[in-house]
Amino acid sequence: MSRIGVFVCWCGENIARTVDVAEVASAAAKIPGVRCSVHYKYMCSDPGQAMIREKIESEKLDAVVVASCSPHMHLKTFRKTAQRAGLNPYLVEMANIREHCSWVHHQRGEATAKAAEIIRMSVEKVRQNHALQAIRVPVTRRALVIGGGVAGIQAALDIADAGYEVVMVEREPSIGGKMAGLSETFPTLDCSQCILTPRMVEVGQHPRIKLYSYSEVEAVDGFVGNFTAKIRQKARYVDISKCTGCGECWNVCPLKRNPSEFDFKMGMRPAIYVPFPQAVPARPVIDSKTCAKLIRNGCGLCEKKCQAGAINFKDTDRVVEEKIGAVVVATGFQLYGIGKKQNGKLVGYGEYGYGKYKDVIDSLQFERLVSASGPTNGAIKRPSDGKEPKNVVFISCVGSRDNAKGLSYCSKICCMYTAKHTMLYKHKVHDGQAHVFYMDIRSGGKGYEEFVRRAIEQDGAKYYRGRVSKITEQNGKLIVRGADTLAGTPVTIEADLVVLAAAMRPAPGVTDLARMLNVGYDEHGFLLESHPKLRPVETNAAGVFICGACHSPKDIPESVAQASAAAAKTQILFAAEELTREPEIAQINEQTCAACYACYRTCPYHAIEQAEVRTPRGVFVKKTARVNPGLCMGCGTCVAACPSKSAELEGFTEQQIYSMVESLA
């Protein structure tokens, strides 16, 4: 490149305050090959960009260096500008003289000299850039939605309604997730199942949604627009195409007392069961761990009773493959296990007696108690003796906001659902008293603050600002020892029932799924978004989107909003004829490659294939490694691993890097 243009930006005062931009521009003008070197106050602004285009045209520039902020900010901007002026966008480089210079130095002389050096390096680099074309890959316009809770349902419906096919995988026998088990939702006190089940039915009946219930994703291979998912359909032992859902089987099952997963062990279910009456699909499943026929070839009553011949004890797991173009992860959450040691430093709360005292339950268990379709038909009864509790204590932040032995974060929804619980309790037990121990009240949503005040002012809930230290049992009552820091006193309450607002954690197994998808996750297992502010539903794995509680604790409206956002991103992906990807990827020189496959083994994106070089007639010449342009992320690991220097990164060749370094000498 012999007609390079250098554009030095002031960035207002951000750069100009510390770097003498005029001096830097005139120093750059002296570099061989630099045709013009100018400076301007805001290069990214319209006039700034216009200046660049004008200079490209008038000076017939064949490469451009913009000395300003980080490429993370505006590389795309300047590339587009160059492209508009007819210059290949990959002949544009940015010299970061802000984050790497003016923002970290104070001494004007030093900073100015360094800025000049940075620019010199960028000039050397761009001199050896190639004009590149964006890579085009085809797109399979089908989406995989992992998780059938409210977020997964919303995403699936949005994508399907937009005209694309959706494959939904749900690990439980029915979709609906945690929301299907709630009684009423804040702040409207809508019946949860009433608002959810119509959408569940819509998913079940949608012509473009293929639902794999009681199934799990085993593997996802491929790349954006071109994934292949392996899905394991667990054996139901019931043929749902023949089953009519009549219910004869679960009525006749003699093993009625298995703790119900849907009721969080507050109720019982038979060995052959539908998790709840409004299940989608409304077909039973047999629990292979407790069914007498499956364990020791006994019973078999359900098979005898079934008029449709739908029971099949010989059923096995089946693995199917689906081709898809985008993945939406909506795996939801689980509650913190209060009573037991979990992993690492999560040791549970022995001082609360959860698991020891029957009448100490967690929030999802209380939801099932209060729920009209729950194990007590919505009557609030103590698990120990079935009596109606007159004093119920609700404890917030169990597991949350605890750096010593719990989780450091706030689970966001507990303040709201605790207020809701006090109201639901009061509506059912008119002479009952709800007591809430809290540290803070987090009620920032629409109508949320008013909702909490309503619980206190209209429904008489008593709120004590302090944590609870210990719960013991005496004469059938639970002695709750807490504190009220506002009054400055310990507070002891004799409760009939204690409800612990346990922390929200990501669903079990989500980290294994994340590894399958090359999605990052944090120390708690929450999946990582691309950018916490601006890209909350995208991940660093192209084509994989996340929504709902798998990303972070959140309530239903936020989950639904994120699901629609993920669906929108999916539709953007599908809307293009082809997908374009950045071409700054690795290239392997197949002539010099010795096929040692060090690169194949080290590539974190599995983007390198073992390939062959053949003559045009198909005669085998040699083995080689080959980069899949759809998967390669340009990380450069293969370049470092290759012993014969056959792998190079487009735009970052060894020659270029040495030139940049030597330009400093």
Partner: protein, 242 residues
Amino acid sequence: MALGPYGSRHPRPLVSLSPVRTITIGSRVVFSTACCLALAFATPTETTVPVELPAPENASCNVLTKILAPTHWTDCYQCGKCTAGCPVAAAVDMTPNQVVRALQLGNFEIAMASDTIWACVSCQTCSTRCPQSVDCAGIMDALREVSLERGLASPAQKTVVAFQQAFLNNIRRNGRLDEIELIAEFKLRALPSERNLGFLFKDASLAPQLQMRRKLHLRGEKVKDRPIVRRIFERCGDGKHG
């Protein structure tokens, strides 16, 4: 005149300072709400949070913050779990979390003058359960140590202070505890604050009972090398700093 923890700053009498009692709800009696309310409303002092770092001459707070450093007292977010689990919290002027709060507001002397630090039985429940890993029991220790050194210990707690000091003196002299000597020194030290002769002889009836059970040792054991014990005490500042 009842002087509360703020007594040293404000000579006017507060509401009569009966200890803050637990509020219990249920079949037990709910009591002292009135007392609590009175205390809550009768906030006698306005805290002026210092804007600048305290001057070096204010050695009390500098020494204190140095000893307090390993306790993570600044991490306390006032959840009250320490107070909730403290066996004596119902019977003290400032609850444990309020003592830590006083420190956070810069009211070091109020914390050091509290009755709480001497009522504390060092059961370690607070530190064990604290979600922020604040060593509340360690804070109490630090406050006790520096309050004595600065002469700020609550006058109402002279008996407890006398006991601990008598104990340490005993070890310093003998290397091991001489129980009779301890009781004697304790009683004499505490007599001026107890102000009744009955106190002197209160536990005397124990002597024959212990004697009967061969538990009474008229002469305590002494370590042979007593000077080393004295040297250890001296090197540890004998309770004085700087």
